[in-house]
Every structure is written in structure tokens, then in C-alpha cells.
Symmetry: C2
Subunit: 659 residues, 2 copies
């Protein structure tokens, strides 16, 4: 097979496979599916096959050998898929009591709406950062400020965050911000890494689902987002039943103002996006070039088009006024038929790749973009240096190694190796980047080693793999299923984020820890601890609310039916032991924690008023509510702050309205 | 000091201490508090003292030696407070990949509103169970069924869960249910341990804050709750400014119907409750016998009264009609002046103990209740066998060892040892129960060993310590502050749940792991894995919703402005590729996951409609919403279920209203 010959159509092979399996299926169907521990799905409508059966079938169906690229599939060779054995390399992920982790891991929480901060290598969850969800532990979505932000950010109480990205300066993490998308509602949020809290949410106009999300290297000029779902533009009911007129968009958001700058209309469904290291190219994987509306149609064709967005060219088009304005946003036409794509410098290059590719990751030195095949057992390497002058696959495809079944994501150790997750094979495959360039297309030669994971990995990430200087050492495989790996906790099982030791890339991979994860982490990104500089105490100059001193504590009537209550907190005492309001009053309660000592948090809970929020040292928070019901309500501190924490209370008396 | 002599008033000693410290305070005040890592609070208004200064002061103020009972305080003896050193005993808490934990730990999540299931000894979080909060990952609070339950349970979107309790049969865990209180809003919730989900929430009438919560051993006849906050009864504005007429209540809830059975009015603020092993006594700690409304008043007197509730006597009073009905609940008068408390068999015995005791735990064989002193450096042991015939402290107090500063909670290893958390000393103290009975009151003799913890522990729990047969081996100290123990994550720091190896109680304690915890776990309870029998796939007989088959999938118009959409889910496919509704329609969407395979969860997300929920195998969930905005909305699966997960979509078309 020559370097640029197309590999066999995986669907065709799967069909062949299914035919060969007819005799096996009877046996599969007789199995009690509910108790088959190692059942795994190909995800094709109408078939649910067990991994064990798949492997049996692999033996029966010799045809699979030619496509699988995974020796586990042939059923006999166990050397390629190494089993987990404790610490053969002596690698330890234990962090002794009182010692610190070496890396911050920022996990997107998927449809939990939150981010999670996890220490590496201990895999301990250090904190959660609510983003698109509400969170009563911190009061996110309960205080006026966070409520307003969520309201202005679309007014939703959940989101589906997928791709966390750290802000960069000169191509390295600067520790300032983290940006993450909401796939569900087409939003991008920003997290302030000084205080580890969400400080902005942008509901991007015209987009229903932002899936891929990244910052433009090397200096975070934009936060870029991939619109996944095709819909009418604008989506107001017109053309709702005319999918030919649906469109998907690519968007650039300003990282400071968080305002949407421009959008680009493209063909097909966009999936994941990453950028080159020089600020010019954003590469988006894509599926459904068929522009169908059901799964059969979406997976019909052999090829889909990866998109290469030429950012300066798009900026120039916007500057030249070559756009249509929709809901206030300049929308540039980047579809294949657009005149803007016909000249010497098209806005968007369409590069055919084997069908339904999933992810794109740009390697550390920016030479190649790695596009995992999903339904093709290959990873397509795009030569970014050749991209400016050609979009001919023969010229821009630098390699296409055959890695195994269901390749989804690729990560890097900085020593010339790529690691690709194999969803269907449930493996991490390590391969040699240069060898893949030199090998014939579809060759298995570049493959170095395979590590079984448990089970069905999505994203994988090695330490700082996205920077120009990856750190190697550890890799995390974010596995979607855990099945029998943990004590049973009912039908909704945790994911399994597995920690794999990769050393500096020269050693064999070693699985060292299973880590259960509440649904459903999607991706993660790592930063060395020295790159993050979190404050332990608030600076009052960093927020808008007015700092309350002990002298300020009191009740001020601000209107016939409104009062402003100001109250400090410190260990064991609220600034007001009690206060009185009238039934029906709108009460604005401002609270400052006047302590200067780290980790002395106070909580302000008002029973039967659905109010609770945290006030960290030197922080001020406000909440507004209506005092509807006469009675006595004991405001209490929800953070166990001192030996007399239980006695830390204020008494709100709501006097009955007269008459 | 004779056995029953009162120990010195801790407040008096603290005053003496403060006076002695005048010269030291100048130095304390010159310290930059915000950066003092080991600052720790006594919690007394007006003073914030560093631990280091406290220890210095201990040397200076010889008077402290007589009350501290903690050698660490004397500044010189380091042998009692052992430092954390890795694995001197060879105890390993590592659970290798693929192996299971030995115990389930159920953590109350405090004001996060959720429960957390944590494996022991790995300390990995296996799952979360939303209880009083909402949770978009599972759809708790997003589906009709969970929304209704939360609405009927008070309509709040948060709660403050404190004390998780496993249901018992014959004094051992039967694996059926877990009960937990909401301190904020006076509620009790039940979690079904077959499916690990909340199935009932009771908003208990007349009670603002239920703090202590336990089940009545040995057969879970009731779930018992302590009303902490005193308020008018009913709390309708009457007597709001007359604290003399405030009252607090003790409640019994039926564990099956979850209906409130009866309440008992008492003096003072109730705190924590535990029961004897024979179904007769419930012992509640209590503070604020002063019945004051501010902290100075609440901590004024030397003594507070622990309450011993005689459950059969209370039942008899209710049966005899000796109650007042308030908001439909029989309320029995158990105050000290009540006639029901004057006879041979009072409903409630009031037992004076040193001021503001915090917790009560009944030991494994049911002989003693252990009441930690909080502001007294002692643990008071009540002889439950003597309780029936006397409430004279001289007869019912079996021992009162001096354990250290700020004792809050006690746990047991089943080999004759008690372990008490010391909030102010930041230690776990191990002591001999029988030696404490035999020693003089206030003696330090029973003390075996002290282990530093980091920092300020609240609850501590050893494995199955609450059963009649504790397992020893591991103990968890739930420390309220972590300060410098983890990578900085902004001003809101995690708690630190520390795992301590205690062997079978014969070995020295060994601190083996720090475990960061999102705010703010309060307590935990452990069950051996063999005692929990979680189902991995739903049984349709276990829920009310109508199971939807593939044949049922479709849209049924149920009214002029209402439709019922029925839709199955299975890997890669919703039962309907698309459906159409009219603008303004109330849409009821019923979804069944028709898969029988464990761990194949599907999510149903509707962009821009704030809808997301999980449907586990064989489960059915329903959601009702209004289709307000014309357009195309791509319903998608939020659980990565197969290789073609991205293509798993249904298209909701909302047609514009005519005219």
C-alpha cells in the first residue's frame, strides 16, 4: 500500500465483519447482557456486541486482521496489550501526607457543568470550580453577582463543558485564565486562576452547540469555538424543515472582553479544534460532510473534510467588510462554494480525510496536526508547514499510521512519541512520530506498544502535552466506562480516569492507578504547579462589591419595602447578633469576611429562604431576597470555623405586615 | 480530684489564659495573619490566636497545664503527638488497578447538599448522590419525578446534610437505606441503596434546623432528629421578639412512610443524637441551656444538660393523648418543668455536663454514651444501664477522662479503645475505655496515644464503629482546615479527610493519607462491601413511570397545547430521529433506556431548554417543558456511549405558532 493510498473503508470492513459474525450472534444474544462484565459497543445501530465476542469473532473472521491494526483483536497475541501489574517500573503516584502534587490537572466535568482540579500524580480532587452549574457549597448561583452572570450568560442552570484551555503567553501557560466551552448551549466561560472561580460566561449568538474549543497560540489572541450542530441561521423557525439551509459556524471570542468577534460559516459538522503554534492556523476535525440529519446518513460517505481556518485571512475578510451581520455578529462565508474560498488565499481549506475523524491535536513543535480516525483505524498527520501552499492531501498528509480500532485522541511526551486512545480496542497505543512519516501509509510499523485501559477511552492527555515543551512522565486516559473496576454504586457508574506512567517516553507504559470520576469528565489539561499563582486571601480591589467593616454593620431602610443589611463575619460572630425587617421587604444582605487569615471561610445560611453562600477572607458577597414569611430565622455559619462555630449565628426577625 | 468533682470551668481557665497572654498578644498582633500558616482559632469573640503562640503561651502560662490535658500544649513533649511518617507500620491504603475497596464510606457533604460515596482504604470518591442539591450530571432536580420530590420536600435548592445513618436490622447494617438530615431547613432525606439515589425528602413541620440525626437501634424503628434552633412554636411572627417563648423540638420520623410521627419539646439547643442498642434511649447533647440569643449568653453557664429521651415512655404519652397538636404533629412537652417529666418515668432526663458539650456517641456494646466536652477538655461517659433508675450525675456518669482541648467526637475500634477528635489541639487521642471508668474523674491516665491531624478535626469515624461489632483497622479524621497541605486552589480551600491506620486497635496510630474534600463534609459512616447490594440495571417494577418500547416511540397530541413525546434510547440512536411540536406546546418527554447492559448510560440534553438528564439501563425518566421558541434543537446524548456517540441525536422542530 503506497503512502497516500486510501485505507479500506472501515464501514465496508465492518459490514464484512458483521456478515461473518452471523453465526456468532446467536451465541451473543443468548448471553445475559445485564451481567456481561466486558460487554462493549461498536456503537452501530442494531448491534450490541461483547468485547469477548468481538475477540472470538476476530479469530473467526480473519478479514478483521487486515483492518484492526490491533493484535488484541486477533485473540492470540497478548504481548502487545500489556496487563496492569503494580509498579513494575517502580513508578509511584503516592503523595505522602503533607507533600504537594507536582501538577495541577484541570478536568472539564462534562454535563456536570463544573471543572475539577485534580493533583498529579496523586489523582486527588483538590477542588471543584462551578462554571455552568450552580453550586450551593460555594454559593455559586446563589449570590447576586453569580446569579447575574449566569443570567446574562443565557439563564441556564447547566452546561456541558468539554475542553478546558489555559491561557498562553509566548506559547506557554501564563496562569491567568482557563477557558472552557458549553456544548449544550453554545457558550464559552472564563475561569480566573487567581481565585479559581468563573468570572465570565459568553452566550455566543447564532450557535447552538460549541464543541471544540481552544485558544489561539502562542498569545491567546482568541478563544476559538467549533459549532457542531447545523441549524438555520438565524434559528427562528424559518427553514426548520429544510436541512439544506442549515449551517454550522466557527467562532472567535476576545479573551479579555469575552465578546464574540466574528464567525465563519462552514459545511458539515465541526468537531474538535486546535491551533498551530504561530497564530495562523486553526485545524478543525469534522463529520457529516453528508449534511444528513440521521445517523445512517451522517456515516454514509467514505470521507469527511477537516477544515483549516486561516485566521489572518479571516480577519482581513472581516476588515474588508466581506461578511453578513447576523444578530450583531459579522459572519464570513467559509463554505466550500464561497467566493472567499476560491482565491490564492482561501479562508478555509477543506482537506478530505477518512470518514468521521474525531479529534485534532497539534504536536508540540507545531509541525503536524494529528487527526484520529474514529471510524478509520488510522491517525492522519497534516503537515502544517505545507498547508499554506496546498490543500492537496497528497502534499499535506505527512503520514497515516494504522493504530487500532476507534482512535479518538492523541497526546505527546515531547520525545518524539504520540499516544493515541483507541475507544473500541480499549487501549492506549504509543507510536513513533518520525517513523510514521517515513512509513508507508496505513503501516503498523510506527507502533511501539499498546496498553490496555478500562474501558473505552475518550481523551488522553500527557503532562503539558499541548505546550511547546511537554513534560512526559504521566499520562491520563479518560475512560468512559468503568464497569467492574470499582465497588458497585448503582446503575450510574463512574468513569475511570487511569493514570499511566510513561516516564520520559523511553520506558514501557505502566498503568498505576484507577480513579473513579463522577459523570462525566471529558478532557483535561495540566500545568506545572509553578505556573499557577493562586491567592489565598481576597484583595478588595479585585471585586465590585463594597467592603463592609464592623462599624458599617447595621440595617438601612432604602425604601418603603426595601432594606439593606450590612454584616461582617469573623470567627464565632456575625456583625449583627440580630436584625428586624418587615414582611414583604426586599432585603439586600451584604457580607464581608473581615478575617485576614487563609482558610477561615464563613458561610451565610438563611433557613427556609434557600440562601447559602461562602465568604472567604477579605471577600464581600451580596444576596437579595424577599422576606415573605413572618417569624424568626437563625442565620448560621456553614463552614466549621472555630470551636464556637455552632454558636455563630444571627437572628433575622421578620415582623408581620400591619393590618 | 475525686471522681465526680466538677472539673474547672473552662471559660474561667480561658480567661486566666487570656490574661496571662497579654504580653504575648502584642507579638501575635504584629504577625501577618494572612500568611501565618499555622494560625488557629479558639473561636472566642475578639481573639484570633496562632497555634504556635498558643503553645508558647502554654509554656508561659503554667496554669494551662492543669486544664489542657494535652502534652503538646506544654510545648516540650513531642512523644505524645506523633508526626506523620510514611508507612512505619507497613499499612497500605493503595488499592491496585482493578481491585476493589473493602468498605463503602458514605460522607455527608454538608452544605454542598450531596452525599459522597468514598472507597476505603483508597479514599477514592466512587460516586456522588445528590440529596438536597440539584445535579445536572444525573438530572436530579431536572426530571419531573425529582423536581416533584424536591418541591414537596420544601422547594429548596440546597440543604446542609450532616449525619448519614445506615438502616439497621438486628443492630447491623441491612444495606437498604441511608437517612440524612438537612440542618438548614429541618428536613430528613432517605437514600435508596439499591440504586444509590434519594427517594424521599420529608420537610418536618415546626422545625427550622435538624442537626443531630440517627436511626433507633436495633431495627430502625424511627429516624430521630434534633431540632437545634429555638424558635416560636408555631413560627408565624408571634413571639418573634420574645425568646423566652422559643422552643426546640426532638422528632421521630417513620423510616418507611417518612411521615413525622411525634415531636418532643425540650429546653436548650439540641445538638447531636445517638441511641442505645436496645431501642429505649436516645441521648442528645445540647448547649445553650441559658436559652440566650447571642454567643456571650449561650456560653455563660458552667453546665448544659444532656437529654436522655425515653422512647417507649414518649410513645405511651402520645398514645395517651398527652400532647398538643401543632401543624398536624403531636407535640409532647418534655421541658424540665413539664408534668410528664416529674413522675417515676419521665419522658426526658436532663443530665448536667460540663458546658456546651458537642457530640454524643454510644459505644459498641451499648453500655456507655460518650459526650465530648467541646469547651471542657473532657469526655463524659454516661452509664446507659444506670439511666433507667437515676439521672443523678453521680450515678450515671461512669467516667470523665481528660482528653485534650476541644474534644468534639468519639469513635471506637471494638477492642476497648475510644478515639476522640480534639478540635483545638488538632489531634486524635486514643484512650482506654475501661481505664477511664476506673480512673479518677479528669484523669489523663486512660490516654494511650495522640496523633497530630491537619487541622482542626470535627467528626472522626472508625470502620463500622457505630455497629455492635466495629472492625478497627482504619479511622478517618474529618479535618475542617487544610491550609498548606495541598496545592493552593484559591481562597476556598478543601477540607482534609485524613486516613489513619489503627490496626485492630493494638498498634500505634499511623497517619497514611491526606485526602482533600470539597466543602464541606461533616460526618461519614462505613459499611463493609458485603453489606451493600447495589443493582447495576433498573427493574421497571421499581418505578412509576411507564416503560417505553421502540414500538411506543412517537408523538401523541394530548391537548390543544400539549403533546406527549415517547422515545427510547440505545447506543447511537434515539427512538425518534426527529419530531415536531408547535410553539407554545407543553411537551412531556418520556425516555426509556432499553439497553440491558450495565454501565451503558444515555443522557438526554436539549440545548437552550435547560434540560439534561441521565437514563440508566432499563430506566425511564420524564421531563415536561414548554416549547417557547420556534427553531431546530438538536437533542443529544451526554454520556459517551459508543463510537458513534456524537451522531446520537434527535431533532426537535418547534414550528412557529400560526398568525
Amino acid at each position: 500500500m503506497s503512502k497516500h493510498e486510501t485505507p479500506r473503508d472501515p464501514n465496508e470492513v465492518l459490514e464484512e465483519y458483521e456478515e461473518t459474525l452471523d453465526s456468532v450472534l446467536a451465541e451473543v444474544e443468548s448471553t445475559d447482557e445485564a451481567t456481561t462484565d466486558d460487554d462493549i459497543s461498536l456503537g452501530l445501530p442494531g448491534h450490541s456486541l461483547g468485547r469477548r465476542d468481538f475477540m472470538k469473532a476476530g479469530v473467526a473472521a480473519g478479514a478483521m486482521g487486515s483492518v484492526a491494526g490491533c493484535s488484541a483483536l486477533s485473540g492470540g497475541d497478548s504481548s502487545a496489550g500489556s496487563q496492569s501489574t503494580p509498579s513494575s517500573s517502580g513508578a509511584s503516584h503516592t503523595v505522602e501526607p503533607g507533600e504537594h502534587d507536582e501538577y495541577y490537572g484541570f478536568w472539564s466535568g462534562g454535563h456536570s457543568g463544573e471543572l475539577r482540579v485534580i493533583g498529579i500524580p496523586s489523582m486527588r480532587e483538590l477542588t471543584r470550580i462551578p462554571v455552568f452549574n450552580t453550586d450551593c457549597a460555594s454559593g455559586y448561583g446563589f449570590t447576586d453577582g453569580t446569579q447575574e452572570m449566569l443570567e446574562e450568560g443565557g439563564g441556564y442552570s447547566w452546561g456541558d463543558n468539554h475542553h478546558p484551555n489555559l491561557s498562553e503567553t509566548d506559547g506557554d501557560y501564563d496562569g491567568e485564565y482557563l477557558y472552557v466551552n458549553d456544548k449544550a448551549n453554545g457558550r464559552i466561560a472564563r475561569v480566573n486562576l487567581t481565585y479559581f472561580e468563573t468570572d465570565a460566561i459568553t452566550d455566543v449568538p447564532n450557535m447552538q452547540a460549541i464543541h471544540g474549543c481552544c485558544v489561539l497560540s502562542p498569545d491567546t489572541k482568541y478563544v476559538l469555538g467549533n459549532g457542531e450542530f447545523r441549524a438555520p441561521l438565524p434559528n427562528d423557525g424559518t427553514d426548520a424543515k429544510n436541512p439544506d439551509n442549515y449551517t454550522s459556524l466557527f467562532v472567535a471570542v476576545d479573551p479579555e472582553s469575552m465578546e464574540t468577534q466574528w464567525q465563519v460559516k462552514v459545511d458539515g459538522n465541526l468537531d474538535i479544534v486546535d491551533t498551530g503554534k504561530e497564530g495562523r492556523w486553526a485545524i478543525s476535525s469534522a463529520y457529516n460532510s453528508e449534511e444528513a440529519t440521521d445517523i445512517q446518513g451522517m456515516t454514509k460517505d467514505d470521507r469527511d473534510n477537516v477544515k483549516a481556518f486561516d485566521i489572518p485571512a479571516i480577519e482581513q475578510a472581516v476588515e474588508n467588510g466581506n461578511y453578513e451581520e447576523v444578530n450583531g455578529i459579522p459572519v464570513v462565508d467559509g463554505t466550500q462554494g464561497s467566493s472567499l474560498n476560491q482565491g490564492d488565499r482561501p479562508l478555509v481549506k477543506y482537506i478530505p480525510t477518512p470518514k468521521s475523524p474525531h479529534c485534532v491535536e497539534v504536536g508540540p513543535n507545531g509541525d503536524y496536526a494529528f487527526i484520529a480516525g474514529k471510524l478509520s483505524p488510522t491517525v492522519t498527520m497534516l503537515d502544517l508547514n505545507a498547508l499554506a501552499d496546498s490543500s492537496d492531501p497528497d502534499e499535506v498528509v505527512a503520514g497515516r499510521p494504522r493504530v487500532g480500532l476507534g482512535p479518538l485522541h492523541t497526546t505527546f511526551d515531547g520525545n518524539g512519541h504520540a499516544y493515541t486512545s483507541l475507544f473500541i480496542d480499549s487501549q492506549t497505543v504509543k507510536w513513533d512520530i518520525q517513523a510514521a512519516v517515513e512509513a508507508e501509509e496505513g503501516s503498523e510499523d510506527p507502533i511501539i506498544e499498546k496498553q490496555d485501559v478500562h474501558y473505552n477511552p475518550g481523551h488522553i492527555q500527557a503532562l503539558e502535552a499541548i505546550t511547546t515543551d511537554p513534560d512526559g512522565e504521566w499520562l491520563v486516559s479518560l475512560n468512559k466506562l468503568s464497569k467492574d473496576r470499582f465497588l458497585p454504586v448503582g446503575p450510574i457508574m463512574p468513569d475511570n480516569d487511569q493514570l499511566i506512567h510513561i516516564g520520559q517516553g523511553e520506558k514501557e507504559m505502566e498503568l498505576v492507578a484507577d480513579h473513579p470520576a463522577y459523570p462525566e469528565p471529558h478532557d483535561c489539561v495540566f500545568a506545572h504547579k509553578d505556573k499557577i499563582d493562586a491567592k489565598k486571601v481576597y484583595d478588595k480591589d479585585d471585586y465590585e462589591e463594597t467592603y463592609i467593616t464592623e462599624e458599617d454593620s447595621g440595617v438601612e431602610r432604602t425604601g418603603e419595602n426595601s432594606v439593606h443589611v450590612k454584616m461582617t463575619t469573623k470567627r464565632s460572630e456575625f456583625g449583627l447578633p440580630d436584625f428586624t425587617v418587615q414582611e414583604g421587604d426586599e432585603v439586600k444582605l451584604s457580607t464581608t469576611n473581615i478575617e485576614g487569615v487563609q482558610d477561615i471561610i464563613h458561610g451565610v445560611a438563611i433557613p427556609e429562604h434557600d440562601i447559602n453562600y461562602a465568604v472567604a477572607p477579605q471577600d464581600t458577597r451580596e444576596v437579595t431576597f424577599t422576606a415573605d414569611d413572618p417569624g424568626v430565622y437563625w442565620i448560621y455559619c456553614t463552614y466549621f470555623c472555630s470551636a464556637l462555630h455552632l454558636e455563630m449565628r444571627s437572628r433575622m426577625i421578620v415582623e408581620p405586615a400591619e393590618g
